[in-house]
């Protein structure tokens, strides 16, 4: 049986250019018992921090300066395909969703949802993410 008390915390990287959304995501990650290992304000920084901090999960915005989240997603997964990428974006077109899922995003959450709804969606998906991390044997 899994022992949640002995499992190391899930490491999360937040990539979001808007400070108040980063704050919300930080609070959600903390409520889920995750450890925020980095916060990027643009796509380039997200790629760099993903390489440096080796997160299990990346919460990734799409519309970001310097490098868009969908491009950052590809570069992060090229380097480490075990990363669980959850897109957190206002982009609600089917094309954007398909592009990200095709690139390997694990989930796609609309920022237009209320913070409580975003929390609920992540809380529901979290056990599956944790199982996936354990299955992959990610450090």
């Amino acid at each position: 049986m899994d022992s949640p008390t002995t499992a190391p915390p899930v490491r999360v990287l937040i990539a979001e250019d808007e400070a108040h959304i980063r704050r919300v995501l930080r609070a959600i990650a903390a409520a889920l018992g995750a450890q925020v290992v980095g916060e990027a304000q643009d796509g380039e920084e997200a790629v760099r921090l993903a390489a440096e901090t080796r997160p299990h999960i990346v919460l990734l915005d799409i519309n970001m300066p310097r490098l868009n989240g969908d491009k950052a997603l590809q570069r992060i997964l090229e380097r480490d395909p075990a990363v669980i990428a959850v897109m957190m974006t206002a982009q609600d077109t089917v094309e954007a969703v398909r592009t990200c899922l095709d690139s390997g995003a694990r989930d796609y959450i609309l920022k237009s949802n209320r913070a409580e709804e975003i929390f609920r969606l992540l809380r529901e998906a979290w056990p599956e993410y944790v199982r996936e991390i354990a299955r992959r044997g990610a450090p």
Binding site: D92, T93, V94, E95, V97, R98, L101, R106, D107, Y108, I109, L110, N113, E117, L121
Partner: protein, 76 residues
């Protein structure tokens, strides 16, 4: 001095003494013009279905179903 009223409609060419143009103000468009507009709307709607610039928006629930469907699909 008032301007002289033309005998035919400058838009559709219909005679202005026909019922559709008889009164000032809210004049109903002739059937031919109505038909053209409806047809144009139908064509536009049909062409939009193939126009890649048309953005199809999705809800969170639709995204959830799409993600689920893809996860059920075996890889390879």
């Amino acid at each position: 001095m008032t301007a002289r009223r033309p005998a035919t409609c400058p838009h559709c060419g219909a005679r202005l003494d026909e019922p559709a143009h008889a009164a000032d103000g809210e004049t109903p468009a002739p059937a031919l013009v109505r038909y053209d507009l409806e047809k144009m709307a139908q064509i536009a709607a049909r062409e939009n279905a193939y126009d890649e610039t048309v953005k199809v928006r999705v809800t969170q629930e639709q995204i959830r179903r799409l993600v689920e469907k893809r996860r059920r699909k075996p890889r390879g």
